[in-house]
Symmetry: C2
Subunit: 363 residues, 2 copies
């Protein structure tokens, strides 16, 4: 009888051990490693992350150019942080941050959008509300000063998610948003980048790998912009805006206006914004992929972002920023750099660019 | 000492029990249930599934209309099956099946595409190769007789994935594909459906729920078409083509041309084609979602399709067809019906429509 009891005592011990193993498994295989990688603040009431595009290494550019770019990202971060700190919604924060960067010619979104193969501009943007999964996007607009705001109107003023081309322009007229001549988007640096690319790939020429576009364009910023945020009510939102890829074929739509590819937000998991070779991000449904790894595999936010960059995408494809429902932030990339910024209610406030290893060395 | 050993024996038993529990968890919660739902053939060398759109119940239509529709799906299934049986690729099979259905005015794709709010037609299509994740898509074309073939050319002849609107039309000219006047797509039944919808929602009116469009349009077929296939070399492919949603806003892009939403194929998991409320399928990245549940959660194909229809989408949103890398087929929907067909190397060859419960009662 006493032996029986002692047996059951030992079994109980085995039970406890395996239940704890099960719990760890549910928390994601590499949970431990991730904790080390990004120590989580205890209780964050808001958090925000911004990217100004994955691409070239800051060392390629003048200190003056890097400083101007850094200052803009810091201003954008301040705009978003103020909205969240004062109780604004994450949806408002991501729209206002992206709108500010669209108006800055240093980034490939709004003013400063790259040239397409028709020596014109076609702009894409999308926005998503993680509370309702409502979302809106526009693709291939050419006279809309701020595509991100039109994308938000697609979400709120139509039963649709994505409007493209002439239909999106017609909707802009109906919504009476600020319009510009297409030439408004021109800048000297995007024109030079376009000439470099055309010298190598010509007019709509077939490329073996889209990545070649990225390599050829190196020397210009690849400045798609995006923002993800968690607000004080616990709601997540994401927004992305871009001019696309230099010398892209007329009518080409990349990942930025595709919910699930370039942008995604779901209060059950995270908010995500991507930058890089749009085609690769569509093929791998990257923004949703990060959320799916959290929900279906139990990976942490940072582990999910790393999994996608290392196992789903190819080196040089681009970068991802994401904020979790707990306010944790992940900003990673497999290019030589990604201009980015992050802030949260713990007082974190930083603008970064290079590899995570030397990410604290600001340009 | 002997007591010690008996202790360890009992611990070993506990070990075995919990390890088997872990294995069951890894195999997907309802693995057992799924096996019951769809018994898997032992070794399939090829498999194919087709949908002709989720939507109205066959009881709403004349026997003659239902019979015509059934015969077309049977012809399409024969076309795809012959290609696969004779060693053709899954990519060729899905393109040829969808092309055949695009030319059939009974379906909302190619000839027979619905009217948009501008009383015109804008067609969307996409195709994906599960071996390479290469894919191509076109959105909002209006003079291209077979959008699915142009989508395949985007995949093979450009570095891009998606071309929209005027850019896609310009690409069609460059590729010299068969063109038609937009009025070629007109049919009497789609014109009547459009008038019914406009009588209720007017011109581009905001709807509370996109589902209302589906309900208002009830009485007409909602015949987006799609095909998924596994070929004898073990490669998966998927293709989808549609005219979109009746009275959709000019420029509206649904899920059919969005890789990850309406179409997805990955040899590691499955090939998927969707039909229904495109906006809902984009919000939930439905086609990739099915693949992600298999890869990240370990669910079976049929369980993944059920999970998405029951837990991610809303009743009435639409339907999904999918084929797994093992040749298993899942065809499910949360509407009153979905015209569909399936065949495989075991000799299965069937055309279905109503609810799975009475799915063997052919119209």
């Amino acid at each position: 009888m006493i032996d029986r009891l002692s047996n059951w005592g030992t079994v109980g011990l085995a039970l406890a051990i395996f239940l704890s193993l099960l719990t760890m498994a549910a928390a994601g295989q590499d949970g431990g490693a991730t904790q080390k990688a990004t120590p989580q603040p205890k209780k964050l009431t808001y958090a925000i992350a911004i990217h100004g595009g994955a691409g070239s290494n800051p060392k390629r550019f003048s200190d003056a150019a890097n400083k101007r770019r850094r200052n803009s990202l810091e201003k954008a971060l301040r705009i978003g942080t103020e909205i969240l700190k004062s109780g604004g919604t994450s949806l408002e924060a991501v729209e206002q941050v992206v709108l500010f960067l669209e108006d800055d010619p240093q980034f490939n979104a709004g003013k400063g959008a790259v040239f397409n193969a028709a020596s014109s501009h076609e702009l894409d943007a999308s926005i998503m509300d993680g509370k309702t999964l409502e979302c809106g996007a526009v693709a291939g607009v050419w006279t809309v000063k701020n595509p991100i705001s039109l994308a938000r109107m697609v979400m709120t003023e139509t039963p649709h998610v994505l409007l493209a081309g002439s239909g999106a322009e017609a909707f802009a007229t109906k919504m009476n948003v600020p319009r510009v001549k297409t030439s408004y988007f021109d800048t000297q640096s995007t024109l030079e980048a376009w000439k470099r690319v055309r010298a190598k790939m010509g007019d709509n020429g077939k490329l073996g790998e889209p990545n070649q576009i990225l390599e050829i364009a190196t020397g210009s910023y690849l400045g798609t912009v995006g923002c993800v945020a968690l607000d004080q009510t616990g709601n997540l939102a994401a927004a992305t805006s871009t001019g696309g890829m230099t010398n892209k074929q007329f009518g080409r739509v990349g990942d930025s206006p595709i919910v699930g590819a370039g942008t995604f937000a779901d209060n059950r998991s995270c908010a995500v914004s991507c930058t890089g070779i749009g085609e690769q991000f569509i093929r791998n449904a990257v923004a949703f992929n990060v959320s799916a790894q959290m929900r279906f595999r139990g990976s942490t936010l940072d582990q999910s972002v790393q999994n996608v960059l290392q196992n789903e995408l190819k080196p040089g494809d681009g970068g991802i920023i994401a904020v979790g429902h707990d306010g944790s932030i992940s900003m990673r990339f497999n290019t030589s750099g990604m201009s980015r910024a992050a802030a949260d209610s713990s007082g974190r406030f930083e603008v970064l660019w290079g590899n995570p290893s030397d990410s604290n060395k600001l340009p």
